[in-house]
Symmetry: C2
Subunit: 270 residues, 2 copies
């Protein structure tokens, strides 16, 4: 199945645009989990089981696994395997390099990890993006306007009356179809999000910034209406505030409770 | 030792600005090597041993290892360990993400792989770069003007009379010191290289594009004079043309011969 079809199906079946980010970190997992790679895998399993009926997608942030080297890469692979087959997966790896190198990254993400999609950095241009889409069933989320304060450093440089991120969107939508290309747009920029939604009406938007980064869900929903999008929440769901002595079941209950609160605000058809 | 000091020492001791890129690929190694991860490691060992008296630095392209998943990450680690301690190493990983994620990538590259430096993509701005330099002994090569044709897509968008890559250089040199920051500038753009050299006189330039990508060494040398730089050659050195039946020794001899031809053109003090 093409990744884009799976994405739409996953959103429709769950009636959800909630994407859960597995930014899992040994230093942050609750005490009820063993401080080991097995413990971290169990932590991920617990989150996935507690949320798989609400999540349209899981986004796996490669950095948090790479920090443990090859053990981390093993864990990354095992985490991908824990995700039910019908749920869309995003390799949040922000790769991008010259052609033969991007082709090797593509092999890692799509062949080894068997992700459905990857986040890609546009700086190096189209020949750095194309290798990820050589297989037309793959899907790329291109960084456009990111959620962090650093997005003001270069992404908003103005050229010919348009910001860099607008050039990225304009040029790439004319080169790739909506079936292969979406954009990362930080929920922290609600106004620009509405404009981007108009500029790229049919491409899926992956919207981080909710939760720890403080973006407003209602402002995001107002900007995107009922268009194709995924709103990502990572830390606010996977690290719920636990009080006193708790076990894994308490953790799971709390994750499910928090996720369900987000889910209610992230129905696809409101 | 600070990475920057090691870089200068390595260049001075070898009187060389030659950087060798270990873009090692199972599909491309000669038949005299086993088509296995052990074979690939032996291939790297052979190249390092044949060139370590001429190379000021080795650049290891993460993609080529990541494509094999966790085995590849093991191989990457073992490859870093093969490089003599006094030679500068570059993790060519082109990372960059929001703060806490870049911090995790930094942990992977500097703590796990123990690289001296990393290539970083500037698109996400300064708060995506800073975590790599939280430890002031680290060194970052920021992508400025890359060697590929895609460098014409966004890097040359003009804003306030300057190209995007010029803004990247200007803004980042005012924020980071030469002891922490260098730039990646493709040797395929000799004219711009001369301008960049003037703009960022003291930052080390990492110059890819020689060899398979066709940049002219003499044009590069003219542009950079005897300033601080590394010229990278990957494929042209590690995949020499071998004729007929050859064994590992023939391969090693050919690698050394090719590298020495490059070395002659890449003396630091000419």
């Amino acid at each position: 199945m093409k990744a884009f079809d799976k994405l739409q199906k996953s959103i429709n079946q769950k009636n959800s645009i909630l994407c859960i980010g597995l930014d899992s970190d040994l230093k942050k997992i609750p005490n009820s989990f063993e401080k080991s790679f097995n413990g971290l895998l169990e932590f991920n399993k617990c989150i996935i089981e507690a949320t798989s009926d609400m999540a349209a997608a899981y986004k796996i942030n490669f950095a948090f696994y790479e920090q443990y080297g090859s053990d981390g890469f093993d864990l990354l692979k095992q985490t991908f395997e824990l995700i039910p087959n019908d749920i869309f997966t995003i390799a949040d790896a922000k790769r991008g390099d010259i052609g033969n190198t991007s082709a090797a990254y593509s092999k890692a993400v799509f062949d080894f990890f068997k992700a459905d999609s990857i986040t890609v950095n546009p700086y190096m241009g189209f020949d750095s993006i194309e290798p990820f889409l050589e297989d037309k069933s793959n899907y790329v989320f291109l960084l456009a306007l990111t959620s962090n304060s650093g997005s003001y450093d270069f992404q908003r440089l103005s050229s010919d009356g348009k910001f860099l991120y607008q050039h990225v969107i304009e040029k790439s939508t004319s080169r790739f179809t909506k079936e292969n290309l979406g954009f990362v747009v930080g929920g922290t920029h609600a106004e620009e999000l509405a404009e981007i939604r108009k500029q790229a009406q049919e491409n899926c938007l992956l919207i981080p910034g909710v939760g720890a980064q403080g973006a407003s869900i209602s402002a995001i929903r107002k900007a995107i209406g009922s268009s194709l999008a995924l709103i990502n929440v990572s830390r606010a769901i996977i690290y719920p505030q636990l009080k006193g002595e708790t076990d894994k079941l308490d953790f799971s209950v709390e994750v499910r409770k928090t996720a369900s609160n987000f889910y209610k605000e992230m129905k696809f058809k409101q």
